[in-house]
Amino acid sequence: MRTHFLSKAIAAVLAAATVTVTVTAHAASVELLNVSYDPTRELWRELNASFIAQFQKDKGGVTVSVKQSHGGSSSQARAVIDGLEADVVTLASYIDTDAIAQRGLITGDWAKRLPGNSLPYTSTIVFVVRKGNPKGIKDWPDLVKPGVEIITPNPKTSGNGYLTFFSAWGSVVLRGGTKAQAVDYVTKLYKQVPVLDSGARGSTVTFVQRGIGDVHLAWENEARLEVEEAKGDLDVVYPPISIRAEPHVAVVDANVDRKKTRAVAEAYLKYLYTDAGQEIIAKHHYRPANEAVLKRNAGQFPALRLFSIKEIALDFPDAHKKFIAEGGVFDTIYKPRNR
């Protein structure tokens, strides 16, 4: 008896769900869900508004709305894998987009589908220091000088965290250092990190609100916001070399085909590459893919050597495996030796 009741209840719930879906599809309106990472809220809010206005002007009659979802990049990817119906994903790293592709939700050579390897913008890791840079921090080696406290999130749980690690590693091996010197450098560096916050925003709170640390290694866009908001109490320092962070965008094939939203989802991502889209991206301190737009905003994007992940590993997943994952270089740093 109870199983019968249970199956009826499940059927009713499913029926209700189907009805909602059909209703939205029949009205001439499309709703997209963009699943993104934490600090991009303001960026997508402005991009969405701009895209919707443009789309409705071009294709009158179809109303579009875009919902945003934000959170830690890899937990967002897991949500999509577990069934969150994202039409597009705009996550912090290739690792997370690729994990979704590995489960068959994004198909084929997805990174090749959009210009510039599906990267409408890139970013990097820079330094934020206290007013006037009292510890004289200019470059990576300055971080490990005695008495410098470093704030950066946990590489194990945060995108900002592992990008910091990759940057630190690259700053040694790409400037003539050996692997052993690189291990030595990152070991020293993480010994000077008093708190490993679980995410990028947590580190910002530790550095800004709690006043802990001399330097904060953060996403470029976060660093710029942080300094703007501190109104003179903090400064950005650009090291001569840092990682090129690659937040890819992709249409989630399995979801858009089921929801019949592919055309709009593709138009949405293409819009990011238009001049209007690129200008919004630059305004929010992400480095636009379009050279002309980047040049127009050169004042806010100082030149530095942005090295590719391919210079220190095969790709992002390989680097993560080598350096961060269980048994990687990061794990050896904290191993207690003489306690």
Binding site: R2, L6, S74, S75, R78, A99, N154, K156, T157, P194, V195, L196, D197, S198, G202, V205, Q209, R210, G211, I212, H320, I324, A325, E326, D331, I333, Y334, K335, P336
Partner: protein, 276 residues
């Protein structure tokens, strides 16, 4: 209908059916899912995931801080419950409702506030840090925030029992020549044992699973202040679902064993106080 199971209220089979259904859906299915995910690993993989120097340090920390916090809560909770039940003073009602606040507050808020208070430049930290007391980003910080989270459990389990306790029993003890300490230990405390144990178990279990507040105060330093749930999140970051659930299964198993043990203790103490 001349059944031996005849009850005053009808509907035993229906209510049992619902109980089993809810327990299955809410508790059993997730646990089974967790175990089945972990069982996708081979025994070697499982062992490699759950038994490393780092996970051992994390288990020790998680269970150690939870035990310490639950023990502190038993003392503190008993005191608070005693004051609330036995004395009448202005602001008592307000104090009484304050007790439940940690349950309502998102624990991340608790963690953030505690960390801000105890850092070098915080309201309390500015006095404590010069004395060498690091109550933010340390093990002490974890215990403090767990005490905060677990307090209502002890107070709320002890309070009703204390209310039922007849003050005349203490007066009788006093008139029979018992000292204050004897009266407390032999007359007041024994009936409270089961409630104290329940409160302890609840606070302890609550602390084992706590993540939101602890990540903000602990500093998450591997081997030192990294709790086991942080390791689970770290493994999820690698999309190593099997390994992540393996650690969860270990936590589940140990917690379950400890709760069973506490339940047994509780039953034993009830029997003990009944014939005492």
């Amino acid at each position: 209908m001349a059944s031996v199971n005849r009850r005053v209220l009808p509907g035993f089979s229906l209510s049992l059916g619902y109980t089993v259904f809810y327990l299955t859906v809410l508790v059993l299915v997730p646990i089974v899912a967790c175990i089945s995910k972990a069982s996708t690993l081979t025994l070697d993989q499982f062992w490699a995931a759950v038994w490393t120097e780092r996970t051992r340090a994390a288990y020790l920390l998680t269970f150690g801080t939870s035990l310490a916090a639950a023990a502190a809560n038993v003392l503190l909770g008993l005191l608070v419950a005693w004051v609330l039940v036995r004395y009448r003073f202005p602001g008592r009602r307000l104090m009484d409702s304050l007790i439940d606040l940690p349950l309502a507050l998102p624990t991340a808020v608790g963690g953030l506030v505690y960390a801000s208070l105890y850092v070098k430049k915080g309201w309390l930290g500015q006095y404590l840090v010069p004395l060498g007391i690091q109550a933010a980003y340390s093990r002490l910080a974890i215990v403090l925030v767990l005490v905060f989270i677990g307090l209502p459990f002890v107070v709320r389990t002890v309070q009703p029992v204390l209310e039922d306790l007849d003050p005349e029993a203490e007066e009788a003890a006093a008139s029979l020549g018992a000292s204050r300490w004897q009266a407390f230990r032999r007359v007041i405390l024994p009936p409270l044992y089961p409630a104290l144990l329940t409160g302890f178990a609840l606070a302890f279990a609550r602390s084992l699973g706590e993540y939101g507040s602890v990540v903000f105060v602990s500093g998450n330093m591997p081997y030192k202040t990294e709790i086991a749930p942080v390791l689970i999140v770290a493994r999820l970051q690698e999309y190593a679902y099997g390994e992540a659930t393996a650690i969860a299964v270990v936590l589940l198993a140990v917690s379950f064993a400890m709760l069973v043990l506490i339940n047994l203790l509780e039953r034993w103490s009830k029997g003990d106080s009944a014939h005492a």
